[in-house]
Structure formats: C-alpha cells, structure tokens
C-alpha cells in the first residue's frame, strides 16, 4: 500500500482567478474609456461634476460594460454586466458620501483637537477663546454617562421584550410588536418633550442626566427590540428542539444554546441601538441644561454632552467656536468607533467548550 504525501498548499491554488488576455484588455478598456470620455465631455461643456457623474458617466459605463460583456459572454452576459455596474455605482456613490462626511469630520476635527481637549472642561471658555484653553472632556463624560445609563436600561429590557416575542407564546405578542414598531417612528424631540412634560413640568425633577437617559431609552428600545427579534428569529428551530429534547428548561435552552447562536446578531442590535441615540441632540436640549463644568452625577445637576456641546458652539457662530464643534464631533466619532470596535472584538470570540 502506498501512503499519500501531504502536499503544502501552492500560492496560486485558485484557478478560477485566471483570466484570458483578451478578457483583461476588454475589462481594462471598459473601465478606463468611460471615465476618460466622461471627464472630457464634462470639461468641454462645462457640466457640473455630480451631473456628469450621473448623466454622462453612468450611461457611458453601462454601454461600455454592456458591449464588453456582449463580445465576451454573449447576450446572457449583458444583463449581468448592467446589474453589476448599477450595484457598483450605487455602492461607490454611498461610499463617497459617507467617506466625505467622515473625511471632513476627521480633517477639521484633527486640525482643532489637541490632547487636552479630551479631558479639560469648558469653564471660562467662550466661542472666541483660543483653542489652547478648555475642551470637551466634561461633555465626553456626560455623553458616556447619559448614553451608558440609557443603554443599561434599554438593552436588558429590549432583549427581554424580543425574547418574549420570539421564545414564548405569550398572548400579547401582537400588541407588543405593534407598539414597538410604532415607537420606532417617534420623533426624538417628542421623546424629549414627553419626559419634559412628565418630570420637569410637573415639578418632579429639575432637568438632569437621568431624564435625558429616559428620553434616549424611549428612542433606543424600538431599535433594540426589532433588531434582536429579527436576530432571534434567525436561530434555527432545530436548535431549540434539540435543546428542549435534552430536557432543558426554556431558560437554560435560551442562555446556553439560543443566545450564543445569536450572539453576534444581538451585539449588532445593541450597537445599532447605541448608534441610534449617541448623536441625539433634541431630547437632550429639553431634558438637561448645559454645564461648562464637569458633573459626574447623572441624577442631579446640569451636565453637557457632546451633541449639545457641538450644537452650542455651532449656533454661537465664531470660527474658534466652530473649530471646537469639529473637534467634539471627532471625539464623538472616536468614542463610537471605540465602542463598536471593542464590541465586535468581544462578540467575535470563538466557541465555548
């Protein structure tokens, strides 16, 4: 009997990547020509860039790809190529939009930001104070506290509601689902007004961090509920049956089998929930007062947050003030990136023994 040798994998073990020379030339032509032509036409007739992109480049690109596909793959290839171009175009379009937003925040933000900006507070600082002094540290802390408190309430409650909707046969699933769905259409300022009306107008509490958190909970809940519900619905019924058939009580089946299977999805649900509220400004303006000083007590006293800090300096209308807004926006972006990055890293941790 001969024994088979174990071969190392060669570098190019992907024959499906090989393309013929003529195909490569056609692809190159079909991707370069429309760009060149579109630029030439746009320049010659003085058409504004975005219009050139949409009305000159896109049709040209569709035509070029269509022809290239027709000559290499025949009629069947044409439809495929058109769809490819359309999808790629739409993707690039969105990517450019998002990229330019990201780019302006990062470039303006980096211009204005300095290390002390992340921890100093705003006492004695006005819109015209030099950027050497003061920072948004107090607002950063405020955002973390207010959003943290909101998440602390909305995440368990939201997931619990989603569990009720998917894992039980409760009688009120219909109404609850309907209610959660309608809540997701709630304008954020109404959430703020509601909390204001219930707590501030009645004299129960002065504006404070926890009121802002309550308003944010109202906004975060529907997102967390809907997303978690969809994610839990994706867990195969087979797994539930398997766990229950092993004599697991429902609670155990959920925590040991269903939740781990839905873990990454649930983390996404939480992140989307946080993303929904972290930049909210309107409800915060109604439920808490800005405070240039640092306040760590969410239950009493005034407190600033990054969105309200940005809002205040933007509306004041001086260049240094605007620079502070950009710096704070960059800070907010960095915080969100940090939260999302860690959450992803945690949820990607591998399987349990």
């Amino acid at each position: 009997m001969t024994t088979l040798e174990l071969l190392p994998r060669p570098k190019d073990a992907a024959p499906w990547r090989n393309r013929s020379k003529s195909l490569l030339t056609k692809i190159a032509l079909a991707s370069v020509l429309p760009v060149v032509l579109a630029i030439a036409i746009g320049k010659a007739f003085g058409i504004p860039g975005p219009i050139t992109l949409l009305l000159v480049f896109l049709p040209l690109q569709l035509l070029a790809s269509g022809l290239a596909a027709l000559s290499t793959r025949g009629k069947r290839g044409v439809a495929d190529s058109q769809l490819n171009v359309a999808v790629l175009f739409a993707t690039t379009f969105v990517a450019i939009m998002l990229g330019s937003v990201l780019f302006s925040v990062v470039s303006f933000g980096l211009n204005a930001i300095s290390p002390h900006f992340a921890y100093q507070n705003n006492v004695y600082v006005t819109s015209t104070t030099s950027l050497e002094y003061g920072g948004a540290g107090h607002a950063l802390l405020g955002t973390v506290l207010v959003v943290g408190l909101a998440a602390l309430i909305a995440v368990p409650v939201g997931i619990a509601v989603a569990v009720y909707l998917t894992e039980t046969r409760g009688r009120f699933r219909g109404p609850v689902r309907f209610f959660a769905q309608s809540m997701s259409g709630l304008p954020s300022i109404v959430a703020g007004l509601f909390i204001f009306a219930v707590f501030v107008s009645t004299g129960i509490s002065r504006p404070a961090g926890w009121l802002a958190s309550s308003a944010l909970v109202l906004l975060m809940l529907p997102t967390v509920i809907r997303m978690s519900e969809e994610v839990l619905k994706l867990v195969p019924g087979d797994l539930r049956s398997a766990a229950l058939a092993l004599g697991a009580p429902q609670r155990k089946a959920f925590f040991l089998v269903i939740m781990p299977a839905a873990k990454t999805g649930l983390v996404t649900a939480i992140l989307l929930g946080i993303a929904r509220i972290v930049g909210e400004t309107a409800p915060l303006l109604l439920t808490m007062r800005v405070n240039p000083n640092t306040n760590v007590n969410v239950f009493s006293g005034d407190m600033s947050t990054l969105p309200t800090y940005i809002f205040a300096f933007l509306t004041a209308g001086f260049d240094t003030g605007r620079a502070r807004s950009w710096a704070a926006a960059f800070l907010l972006l960095a915080v969100v990136g940090l939260i999302f990055g860690t959450a992803r890293a945690i949820s990607a941790k591998s399987i349990k023994k």
Binding site: R169, P236, D238, L239, R240, S241, A242, A243, L244, A245, L246, G247, A248, P249, K252, A253, L256, V257, P260, A261, K263, S350, I351, K352, K353
Partner: protein, 270 residues
C-alpha cells in the same frame, strides 16, 4: 417479549409495558394527520416504526416525549403512559419527561456554538447535572455512536466542522450521555455509510439491555436486524396516518396479516 397476537392485527401486551401510547390522534391546525394509534413498548425492547414518507412516524414519536406540543398549531388526543403514569396529565412537567425519554432527530442538529466535546456534555449542562468523569463519558458516548476514532484528536473543534453523517452520530452521542430510559430515534442512519450504520445498529442492540428504544427507519433490513417488534404506519390518500399492523418483527415480516403490510415490506408499495 410478551406479545400475543389477537384476532386484530394489533398485538396486545401485559401491564408492565414501559411506554404505552393509547388512542393517539394528532392534528396540525384543522388537519387530522394521525388517527387512533395505540402502541406499547415493553421494557428494554426495540420497536421499529416503518411506513411510507409522510405517514406520521416522526409526528408520532414526538408525541412520546412531549416535543409535539412545541409545534405551533399542534393538536393531540389520547394518552401516553410512561411507567403507568400519564405524561400528559395536568401538572406533569414536560422537562422531566424529556429527560427520561431522549430523542435523536431526523435531521442532525448539533449545537454550532459548542465544541464536539461540549455537544456531548450539553445535555448534562442543560439539565443541570454533573458527572464524575467528563472525559470518560465523552469517550464512551462517542464510541457507542461510532464517532470516537474520527474525532478523538479534535474534541475541541466546533461541531459545525463535522460532516453531515458525523454530526448525526454526534447527536446520537449527545442523547446517550443523558442515559435516558427510553430513546426515540428518527431515522438515525439515513445519512450514514454502511460501516457507521452497522456500528449504530450494534449500539442499539447494546442499549436495549437497559433502555427501551423506538426507531423510525425506511430500511427494512435494519428493522429486521435491530427490532423486537414493528409497527407499520400508513396514510392512505385523503386519510390520516394510522397503524396498519403491529406485532413481533419476525411475524410482521415473514407472515404479515394485512396485504398492505406484505406489499410494503416486500417493496411493492409506497
């Protein structure tokens, strides 16, 4: 076996049957899919359920460990006795029933978030029980499911990395780890090669020294090799499934009472 064939095609047995289904009817929504099934499973016997696809075999065994009620729209009439206690009596916790009556599903369904070893031990964790020697339990269960040799070097690999047939054997090992009194197996070998099938059949024979086994199979030879008694299910067009004939395996295959049984076991039907 204490089987006495009466005038009817249904064998009747004495009082000490381990598990017994009496006059089971099943509905899904308004559709009547199983009619008047009465079968009994003596202690430590192996019973094969045979019959064409869609006649209600899987549905029937799911009524035996209260998995049936988890299907939305499911309906049931009749009773199931486990050691002479009605498992559908008011106040009986389905969890305790499922611990005593284990089940292997038609489709392999290992837990993808757990390792191979974790899957074998999952039943214990899920039911809050412990064992003195986990490694020994894992090895013996995987051995009996004829999977040990293939996975002994990668017990910590995710269960999803196994082939379909390996996953099915893992599910068998997972049920064995709980040492149930009754084991329901729904076509456990349908995805397995002849070698593993033979090994599983040996395991079933071994198990029957201290377990009551109910196995659904489309393989007539397998039914004859492993079972003491056999029930033939049939759903004629527009009718609910029912048991055409139930008796000792030898009788049912060599001298069936019903022509439909004879046609089916000889492959002329269904």
């Amino acid at each position: 076996m204490n089987l006495q064939t009466q005038n009817s095609n249904i064998a009747v047995m004495d009082a000490d049957s381990h598990l017994e289904a009496r006059n089971i009817h099943v509905w899904f929504k308004e559709r009547h899919v199983l009619s008047d099934v009465s079968l009994h499973f003596p202690t430590n016997s192996v019973t094969a359920l045979i019959g064409p696809s869609g006649c209600g075999k899987s549905t029937f065994i799911r009524t035996l460990n209260r998995m049936h009620e988890l299907i939305p729209g499911a309906g049931l009439a009749g009773s199931v006795y486990l050691d002479n206690e009605d498992i559908y009596a008011a106040g009986v916790d389905p969890v305790t029933i499922r611990l005593r009556v284990g089940m292997v599903f038609q489709k392999p369904n290992p837990f993808p978030t757990m390792t191979i070893k974790g899957n074998v031990l999952a039943g214990l964790r899920l039911s809050n029980r412990r064992t003195r020697d986990e490694d020994e339990l894992v090895e013996s269960c995987l051995n009996r499911a004829s999977l040990w040799n293939e996975v002994k070097d990668r017990l910590d690999a995710p269960a999803g990395s196994l082939s379909g047939g390996q996953q099915q054997r893992l599910c068998i090992a997972r049920s064995l780890a709980l040492a149930p009194e009754v084991l329901l197996m729904d076509e456990p070998c349908s995805a397995l090669d002849p070698g593993s099938t033979r090994r599983i059949e040996e395991t079933i024979r071994e198990l029957s020294s201290d377990m009551t086994v109910v196995i659904v199979t489309h393989n007539m030879q397998q039914a004859q090799r492993v079972s003491d008694q056999t029930a033939f299910f049939l759903a004629e067009e527009g009718q609910p499934g029912h048991v055409v004939e139930f008796g000792s395996t030898d009788n049912l295959f060599s001298s069936p009472n019903d022509p439909r049984t004879e046609d089916y076991v000889n492959g002329r039907f269904g």
